[in-house]
Assembly symmetry: C2
Homo-oligomer: 304 residues x 2
């Protein structure tokens, strides 16, 4: 049994050292240097599939180093029937949670207004702390629940919306429209699927309460950018914090860069590093060896 | 038994309604409209003492609506021997905690650099998430422990330093110098006392690790402002976030306003409102009636 490694170069050596220490004698072939095609049973791949995995007859499991697997699942190089696991790395969820907490606080605590006041040397004691915004979280997987926990601990009222897999504590009994109508800050943590493509659009924005803000850390294709601009320019929405875009890097001429009510960050909410998810990769390698189901296995039909 | 109210007008009516609902028949006299001087046993006062409390012979307890009681304790109008309680309002500690978490994240997640990059339409994917800063908290009262809890939950390594009252979980066994040397972000939550006056000075800054940052939400007189500027200008310190100043409002010509490595906020980390600490005021009123010691009673010798 051998591992095929066909993901990022950065951090790969640290991962190999970790796996070799934990599983002495493990064989790791780095694509394209494969010893024996027939021995590859476990493949570690990145966000897109450069290698045709259908050539490995004994392949039993595929582990992505990326949290988002939409591109991977659409690749013709993906053999049908082989289980795929997405990456849920402790560090990634931690960083993503920090990012959301940071920007919720920047909105609530008026970071932008205070920075502008400093720039004009103005001491403005305006009391903005009366109304704590209600937070709505789209997507209540591992990450969404962690974000909800941290924001609740900071005293925010949090609700969540999910397609539902059971056991989700923040899911309200209400439907999507009621959920949106009660979200002063909407946080999108959804995976990219056929259903969520273009999900953040005019219809959805219209249901948010006047003055609402959006934090988008899902995937770029979920946002209809022109619709967002319309609602920010009309004043219906007050602020958008966006880390993912339809086109990345965001083109220099894009309207988002200079919009006074948009915070652009360059896809840094969390950063995938090869060595990072080492524990999950080891776990899933061992589970494959012993015939157990993968952790964070993707439902290919659902798309995440 | 009557209550004397001699604190902020804002929110006072809400407080009176709350007290009247919880303690039907309670008598509240608003200074200077006092019915019978001899009946005042419990006084609610603000940060400074406009009324001479020595004129109330039956006074048994004084409740401040402010968290900081240094000015109150120095007032000649304060009768000796009467217990004083400072305000520890749930909302205040919540806001203060938010402020610290917000600015720790703004420093770690490079808010300033990302905003500058957006201003120049630059997509910079630099990975800044390698080294999570170690947080050092000066002052581990109710507030310091809450801040430490929230930052720990976000994955930060937190240590604390306190003069020690026992039962403080984040206090290291090391002394102040070791504590400072391990603090990449130093958070000052100390009360203002004779000992902490000018405590944030050249000697203290020198012990911090190179590139350290400071978040000052204690009291203005604790900071030797020229010493801070020296360490920021030499590059030994990288960032300072300051909410309290020796002179407030901060004078328009003050060097802090336009310093590239100083974030000035206009004393908004938490906002005292009269109605806010209603629960503590009620609790302490009832404890006074039944002869129990006050919650959050001040040690006058220690100064907080």
């Amino acid at each position: 049994m051998a591992i095929l490694y066909a993901a990022e170069q950065e951090g790969a050596n640290a991962l190999f050292q970790f796996l070799t220490r934990e599983e002495p004698g493990v064989q790791i072939d780095t694509w394209p240097n494969v010893g024996s095609i027939g021995q590859i049973e476990f493949a570690v791949v990145g966000g897109e599939l450069a290698v045709d995995l259908r050539q490995f007859p004994a392949l039993r499991a595929i582990q992505s180093t990326w949290a988002g697997v939409n591109a991977l699942l659409q690749s013709p190089n993906l053999p049908p029937g082989v289980p795929v696991a997405r990456m849920v790395a402790h560090e990634m969820t931690g960083w993503m949670t920090e990012y959301v907490v940071f920007h919720v606080l920047d909105i609530f605590r008026q970071g932008g207004q205070l920075r502008a006041a400093q720039a004009s040397h103005s001491w403005i004691e305006e009391d903005s702390l009366h109304r704590k915004p209600r937070i709505g979280i789209l997507g209540l997987g591992v990450l969404g629940r962690l974000v909800a926990d941290r924001l609740s601990q900071l005293g925010f009222s949090v609700s969540g919306w999910t397609r539902g897999r059971g056991g989700v504590s923040y899911a309200p009994s209400v439907g999507l429209v009621s959920f949106l109508a009660g979200s002063d800050i909407l946080v999108c943590l959804l995976p990219l699927t056929e259903e969520t493509n273009g999900f953040l659009n005019d219809r959805l924005f219209s249901v948010l309460p006047a003055g609402a803000s959006i934090i988008q850390v899902g995937r770029g294709a979920q946002m209809v950018e022109a619709d967002l601009l319309g609602h920010l320019n009309s004043g219906h929405l007050s602020q958008a914090v966006i880390d993912v875009f339809a086109e990345e890097p965001l083109p220099t001429s894009h309207a988002f860069w200079k919009h006074p009510h948009i915070t652009v960050t360059p896809h840094v909410a969390a950063i995938s590093r090869a060595g990072m998810g080492a524990t999950l990769i080891l776990d899933n390698y061992r589970r494959t060896k012993t015939g157990k189901p993968l952790l964070y296995e993707v439902d290919r039909a659902r798309g995440y």
